[in-house]
Symmetry: C2
Subunit: 307 residues, 2 copies
């Protein structure tokens, strides 16, 4: 089928409660709103089917994981088939007993699972104890040929890594999507909150600019309790989902505190127009980048030839 | 000598005229102003000793190049020795007949040439015909142990490359400086000007965030004629030099249309505080980054293992 050069992207920004079935129903409602707005590709927030359970380490919570394909890909796939759209859904993948991933799936307009990306960079910080739950991805950085064009997904913490965006763009992705679960720790918000969110926007807009691609992030909103459930703890997810152009301009931006469906038209020909004007890919010094594969410059190979 | 953890950085934003001797004198005047403001490390704009001659291709302009060490390192070195400061000076290096580089030198407080970085990424766009003049650098991405700490310099077009910032940070640089010559083409300014400058700020602030380092850019200002000298042509250099924190916040920002000396205190302990809070270096997937050394994902090796 010949592709049009322009399509409409929809992002779902939502609150996630205790009941996975209710979260899935809510996600499908918001996806339907996106479809009514004309969306042909829809991206859901990270791990939308549950609370952000990584606020504590509890082996019982592995029960939230599911096979892929499984019930969630069935539900999202049925929606995609009914509405002839493509969707990116972030799921807690049970790959084998004791082996779990933070995985984003592409569901096609025929309802089929088109492919999966397993989150490559796994954080571990107070109340984001992801290294306990998620084995780092082993599929590398990928682009997917969808009905609307060649696009890629990364997941949350990946968004801080220029390498991840670059490698996905080098695979041909013209749009990078970031299902996300990021927010403020209540004790940090007053002093650092604005700066943290600004940095989160800045780093992702920079991926658009550096690679000449569209970038979109779908975050959750709302306060969720930590393991203790004590007041003044937990995480307040900051929403602020956005879609930006290759120039890094916001095409759509969601509020910090309400659910939202964001829509923007993605013109894939704009990618080439941008890259003709600012031809960064032409001048990459691939002969001098081998140190990127080293942990630090004190590793023998990283400094060889760069004395 | 034991280093203090905090030092004052000074950036010179200046207009550059036709006379190299006058430009050097002006640079030294502005450096003296920075010293009076307490600067211990001073960064000059790209190729401050001349007009931005790359607006046209003219072999006679290779006469502007000079040996390193040479007259300009002598002049800046004498200043550094007299005032006991370190300086980064961007020069047109004549390495051999027919072999020229866009080179930034570090001059130490004893007046000595401490080291050089040769611009690795060379642009070539209308009125920025740098590939005609500059052989791409062959020294790689480097950090330098200066009197005030371990810092790095890159040059202008390098600023669009996350790889360059990452590799310099991995060499241990806690501050990245970008001598720059960037501006608006008059015919573009009204429609694209604000967006272009915003993108320039965004990409550099993102290097601060991604690597947890300070970032500073020293640009020139003023309109300079193109080869034709016709009105409505040339480049209007947009100034807007800045110093930003590891969080990507502006600590100092210069206007777009006036010379300026920017000063900010750089607290090297803040780098580690930032990186403890957002430990991006810990989680880099160095096992999965080899594709960075490829031109594009269709090169055999770039996609191997990442199917």
């Amino acid at each position: 089928m010949a592709q049009a050069s322009t399509f409409r992207l929809g992002l779902v920004q939502m609150a996630c409660g205790d009941d996975p079935a209710a979260n899935m129903a809510r996600a499908l409602d918001l996806m339907a709103e996106a479809v009514r707005g004309g969306a042909q590709l829809i991206c859901l927030p990270e791990l939308f089917r549950s609370r952000y359970f990584c606020q504590r380490e509890d082996a019982a919570l592995f029960d939230l994981a599911e096979a892929i394909p499984g019930p969630s890909t069935d539900a999202v796939g049925a929606f995609c088939r009914a509405h002839r759209v493509t969707a990116v859904a972030s799921l807690f993948e049970r790959r084998a007993p004791g082996l779990y991933h933070n995985t984003a799936v592409f569901m096609g307009p025929d309802g089929a699972l088109m492919g999966r990306y397993r989150k490559m960079h796994i954080p571990d910080d107070p109340q984001y104890y992801e290294k306990f739950y998620f084995t780092p991805g082993d599929l590398g950085f990928k682009a997917f040929d969808t009905e609307v064009g060649r696009v890629g997904t990364l997941v949350c913490w990946d968004q801080w890594y220029p390498e991840a965006a670059r490698l996905t763009a080098l695979q041909g992705a013209l749009l990078l999507m970031y299902p996300t679960a990021i927010g403020w720790l209540p004790q940090d918000k007053a002093e650092y909150g604005a700066r943290q969110r600004q940095a989160w926007h800045t780093i992702q807009r920079s991926h658009a600019i550096a690679n000449g691609v569209y970038v979109a992030a779908a975050n959750r909103i709302g306060w969720e309790p930590s393991g203790t459930g004590a007041a003044g703890q937990g995480i307040e997810f900051w929403g602020s989902s956005f879609i930006c152009s290759p120039e890094g301009d916001f095409l759509a931006e969601a509020p910090a505190d309400r659910e939202a469906v964001l829509l923007a038209d993605i013109d894939l020909t704009r990618v080439e127009r941008f890259r003709r004007g600012w031809p960064f890919l032409r001048d990459r010094r691939t002969d001098a980048y081998s140190g990127i594969t080293q942990r630090y410059g004190d590793t023998g190979k990283a400094s060889a030839g760069h004395g």
